[in-house]
Symmetry: C2
Subunit: 261 residues, 2 copies
Amino acid sequence: MKKLYIIKIGGNIIDDEVKLSSFLDKFSVIRDHKILVHGGGKLATGVAEAMNIPQEMIDGRRITDAETLKVVTMVYAGSVNKNIVAALQAKHCNALGLSGADGNSILSHKRMHPVTDYGFVGDVDAINAPLISLLLQQDISLVFAPLTHDAKGTLLNTNADTIAQELAKGMSSLYDVSLIYCFEKNGVLRNADNDNSVIPAITLSSFMQMKKAGTISDGMIPKLQNAFSALDAGVRSVCVGHADKLDLLIKNESGTLMEHE
Amino acid sequence: MKKLYIIKIGGNIIDDEVKLSSFLDKFSVIRDHKILVHGGGKLATGVAEAMNIPQEMIDGRRITDAETLKVVTMVYAGSVNKNIVAALQAKHCNALGLSGADGNSILSHKRMHPVTDYGFVGDVDAINAPLISLLLQQDISLVFAPLTHDAKGTLLNTNADTIAQELAKGMSSLYDVSLIYCFEKNGVLRNADNDNSVIPAITLSSFMQMKKAGTISDGMIPKLQNAFSALDAGVRSVCVGHADKLDLLIKNESGTLMEHE
């Protein structure tokens, strides 16, 4: 099977023009098939503030009401996505940006939560693997905005980590998929204060032990749970590492690699 | 050759939710290959105002400075494009939205004007016919936002009429292309005050006569010039008519048809 890298970047890179350009340099030279999934960044908050749209937060999570959905659609699918695509084109990487509505590439349903209404937030039901594969076969690199659709005309704000994971799972019957989560640390750390204390590899049982012992940060737990769920679903490898080191991450020479026992 | 409809809609439809939905109903049931090109609408002005970005106008034309480019990228490629795509998906039409940067679908260069700097405005150099054709062959309907790119990393605001025309020209060697400009009148009118005075057909020589006699409105002249230029380049037919009558326009039962002598 052909190799496919699915790489997720978050707001900390998107919001920093220099870091983003340097990251896209490294992304653009990957010769294998590749998909970039980006988060939102602070721009959405800035635009919402500038437009006087109040941002409701519950337990530290933004509620995507109708007005906020308009803002994130503009910022994620418009501003962030198209600027990344244009920048990649300049780096001789033929990129094509998609939301989940485009070509019905990611179908989702509105999240129903027993207590809190998070608003227009989608949980993924299916990805359109044949279309994605067709585009990859043209040597097109895909760039996904964190928006999906419910096939009833509504766009839904969807976690970029989840989109990356669902794409990785869905493409793993057709490609040898490596899923890479880029963030602002060098990997999963033994000691949160020491960026050199990267754990090079984690198995499911070592993850369980660390979780039990409380040696793993709360923010990291869902990322790792997703990683092991992806491995279970046939994804070849999942790694977490620093966005500045994408060139090393794709060679498994940096970051933390999640692996089967 | 297979039939391809390239249909342009402007702000007057985009800004009216009911009209837009009714238009998209008619668009979604066209069985042949189809491309929708949309303009911007008033939303961009509203967002710019809300964000306190001053809009500079010269001779009635908006100047696309760097801040305005950010706004139109958000609104045209994000808000307008993705909402149309999601609405079409709900109408069982598998739509996929593109800016000209996506898949290098429309390459342009920044307009150089001897007197006025219109800012980040692009004139089209080339369209990526193989990619567009590949997508159409998957029974995907394409939805173009009026933005192109210069392959140097810059998005450029580009007239939607021109994009429709360039797409029509560029696809005419592969498809039997009908180019349809939808607007808020029933067609080219003999008498601007009488919406029933539609001229059913115009040839290049009758256009020249009308232009000379001043019986054609100034706003219509560039549209018609574009139409004849498209016919010259191999486009099968060009028509101008009311967005509410798309079902009739595609059958040449409404609007004004531009034809060869």
